[in-house]
Subunit: 196 residues, 2 copies
């Protein structure tokens, strides 16, 4: 252990290292040995912080899920017309995704091999359902095109938003100015076509 | 080899087996042994058809790429206003993706570790650029919202379309009736919002 650095990790900073490794190697492909190497501390030091890699996964996806579900409790997601609430939630989903990029990336890659992964998938589905419910309400208000099916539209909108993790870089040219969230909201709610 | 079935494969039917295995295990995670087991014929029988797994990958992604580039040569993609051509290409992309689901899925998962993968990535980028060019033309015609940036819109629209491979099942309720392509076109070009 002479090469190991002193363990100065907090629960959050150790989690950040673990999430990076999970995203690089896949959760299944990550061993405690990989985590120990990436963190530069011994496995027993890691066990001092957490019970194992599944606890790290649970904490990481919980962080993403808490942020996402938190959106639904915000004032603008709770009051007003359904279509406005849906627009607000769409914008905030993009903001959470970019602000919590590694955590949401990990959440979106969860496959369901362990109890924690199955729990995360279940929570994701519940979030999707709540957003679909908003879309259904907006449709019932006559504020969504009648020729678009709610379940299909929900999948496609989530598909667009979730695909952002594949290319977004926090330090890139799309970062920070809210243009990405604006563009998603415009595409989803008003479509591409201009006056022409 | 007593348990192996007689080799009655055609190049296409062997390719279909290989693509299924590549999509399940990942291309990197697939050995000739895996392909031999899945096909139920010996490795030497496979080598009778192809030089190895990289040739199978190249044939599989070529099939997806040929179908995608083929769209751009179709009459409706070549004549008329740019925004109409773009709408046509969008619809046909969804149709190709669902008709050639395993091949397009494999193409979208290519990462770039081998020469064939890097070539496939390069061809994908070229296709993306051609679609982006159409979007730029439509914007120059004043038929695309001025407050949406072309590069970002292209990424988001591709993100929506490509996400379909994650959940679409050829025998499911979304199959066959063109509703999926209609919905994508409506969302992308007109947005969700109805008259309200």
């Amino acid at each position: 252990m002479t090469t190991a650095r002193r363990d100065t990790y907090t629960p959050d900073s150790l989690l950040a290292v673990a999430v990076t490794v999970f995203n690089e190697r896949g959760y299944d492909g990550t061993s405690m040995e990989h985590l120990s190497k990436a963190a530069g501390i011994s496995k027993s030091s890691i066990y001092h912080h957490v019970s194992g890699k599944e606890e790290l996964l649970r904490r990481a996806v919980s962080r993403a899920l808490d942020e996402l579900f938190g959106i639904l409790d915000e004032d603008h997601a709770r009051g007003g017309r359904a279509v406005e609430r849906l627009e607000y939630v769409t914008r905030r989903m993009v903001e959470v995704l970019t602000a919590e990029l590694p955590y949401v990336t990990l959440l979106l890659r969860v496959r369901g091999n362990t109890a924690t992964e199955r729990w995360a998938l279940e929570r994701r589905r519940e979030f999707d359902h709540q957003v679909a419910r908003l879309l259904r309400e907006a449709a019932a208000d006559g504020e969504v095109r009648a020729d678009v099916e709610v379940r299909l539209a929900t999948r496609l909108v989530f598909g667009m938003i979730n695909s952002i993790v594949e290319w977004y870089r926090p330090d890139g040219r799309d970062a920070g100015d809210g243009r990405l969230a604006d563009t998603v909201v415009r595409l989803v709610f008003a479509g591409l076509r201009g006056e022409g």
